[in-house]
Symmetry: C2
Subunit: 348 residues, 2 copies
């Protein structure tokens, strides 16, 4: 191995395991020559696949393990019995400095609990969050938390704002990212105590973004802000509701195009444009739930991801590593905690 960026792959995670991981890693390597991989999985499945990808084989080290954490296991069980699992070994590689980050499509709860336990949170971060990038009418938005913390107080929401802003700035190149707090209205008096308290803190402290104010559900895709901050319960429901509506629209659109001979002809003529649109909102392009705030890059790929989606999750991890995201967060959180208005507000 060289001084390249090294990603540990829990190749047994997700519905398809190594059959999508190995081609995904090979494709990622074709795009970014400075990547290397530590691959954890069952040799019976992984080795034959690696043999088909000579270049990846040369740029990776394979570690056999026949223990896999099931997607149905409770995190506590995964912790107790997953000692030599592909997921745990991959996380430990990051802890031990053998890899710069990990990508897994395995059990989300187990991955979060294990990565928090083994890698710990970044200094100053109380609770890591799951963040993801989504398409909007004028670009992209990063949203967090998507399910790691169901109940969040003001301090935690402010930390999410910082994590999201650093991501938008450092990885997406937004000079001064605007940050919105997801609420049921935009007026100051709206929402519950935690969110109003977070709004007050964000209005006074300096952080690597600009506090926009409260936003509503439809602002997420409108592109009103660069970063959407919310608790993990609301964020998870919003994300999945969005996925559901996208599927519903696809369903109605397919029905419409099949509804008459004229419509079928119309579809044939506009097929190229439809494909372009499909590509624009392709969920695989947005695959990769980032565990921001963990002391080590950790990216969760969707369990049902194919090779293209998995490749994207790998590139998301590579982006975080390459841009030294965690170092930047550590610096910014230290600056935040040094501000009197923050200390007073959150009472730390």
């Amino acid at each position: 191995m060289t001084n390249n960026y090294i990603i540990a792959l829990d190749a047994m995670g997700g519905d398809f395991g190594p059959s999508v991981y190995i081609p995904a890693a090979a494709n990622a390597l074709d795009k970014q020559k400075d990547l290397e991989f530590l691959i954890y999985g069952d040799k019976k499945i992984v080795r034959p696949l690696l043999d088909q990808h000579e270049k990846l084989k040369k740029h990776s080290i394979f570690h056999h393990t026949d223990i896999t954490i099931s997607s149905h296991d409770k995190p506590s069980k995964a912790l107790r019995h997953g000692k030599d699992s592909s997921m745990r070994l991959a996380i430990e590689a990051v802890r031990d400095g053998q890899a710069h980050g990990i990508v897994s499509a395995g059990n989300t709860g187990a991955l979060m609990v294990m990565s928090k336990l083994i890698l710990k949170s970044l200094p100053g971060i109380s609770r890591p969050a799951i963040a993801s990038v989504m398409p909007t009418q004028n670009g992209e938005v990063v949203m967090l938390d998507l399910g790691a913390n169901l109940v969040c107080d003001a301090e935690i929401l402010v930390q999410f704002a910082l994590l999201g802003a650093v991501y938008a700035k450092v990885v997406q190149g937004v000079a001064t990212p605007s940050v919105g707090l997801l609420n049921v209205g935009t007026e100051e008096m709206k929402g519950h105590d935690e969110i109003r308290a977070a709004a007050e803190v964000l209005s006074t402290v300096k952080f690597p973004g600009r506090y926009h104010g409260f936003i509503e559900g439809d602002d997420i895709t409108k592109g009103t802000v660069d970063v959407v901050v919310t608790d993990g319960f609301t964020g998870n429901v919003a994300l999945k509701t969005a996925e559901g509506v996208a599927k519903l629209t696809k369903h109605f659109l397919t029905e419409a195009f099949k509804s008459s001979p004229l419509a079928i002809m119309g579809y044939l003529l506009s097929m190229g444009a439809m494909k372009k649109m499909k590509d624009q909102v392709d969920p695989r392009k947005y695959n990769g739930g980032m565990f921001l705030g963990v002391n080590g890059v950790c990216v969760k790929s969707h369990g049902s991801s194919d090779a293209l989606g998995t490749e994207n999750a790998i590139l998301v991890a590579a982006d975080l590593i390459r841009n030294d995201f965690n170092t930047q967060v550590a610096e910014e959180i230290e600056k935040l905690m040094g501000q009197e208005s923050f200390v007073e507000a959150v009472g730390v």
Copy 2:
């Protein structure tokens, strides 16, 4: 006036006021001959419009008022200063038995606070909820709460389940409506305390529906259940996120159809089918937020609704009145409160 169904209209509410209310009421009357209206608004605007609709004029009584509650007023201010407002007079007409229900496109917060204060909640209902019907892949779903109660304990969520189930049964004709609790996963251990406690109660009590279990955001539009129950914060964010994604898709679809001469031709050929699809998900068809649990039918029309959307809100109110929704709820809530397992669980 006769023994028909009488709807009180706060004709001054919403962005367009009487200019959409009067034609909307006239069209509703064309469809349902047993409707009559009490119209509250400014005579300078309403009278000339009424003169254009002879039939409506014959089937309605007009009350002049020049006080309107602004959409920006805080509910508390609306209560103090809205004594002779069109909204308040319309609600009082329901209280005094002059009308069977009210429709308003005015300030949601003011309408909820006033209707709760003047009409009260149905006996046994702690907190009325805002409910709405949404399209799914295989029909329709009713979802509540959409924003009236940001924080809800188990007892309140169970009452929402009852309200939604009675609606699906009585108004939509679903024999045994299935009810899902919106959560971040379907496993029993998922979610926060309130929702898990509500799940336990719903699993044991008898109510006019069948408890399906936890559902996730994408289940709303998948048609997994007939009734989606959630707290008002999550419900509001989910609803608006859904609206946002629908707009985003429309945006991308329009862009795609304009992207090349071939795509434009494709659009022209499939225009009929596209229109049918647009009609299927037309938000105006789903306009009408029902304040379920208020002792009197109360329907909120969207502030930016046109005449078609407003007509739908009127028909939603007519449906609730015609099917005697509130009497059915009162009977069912009494049955629920008589069950030992309910009393034990919620500690009433």
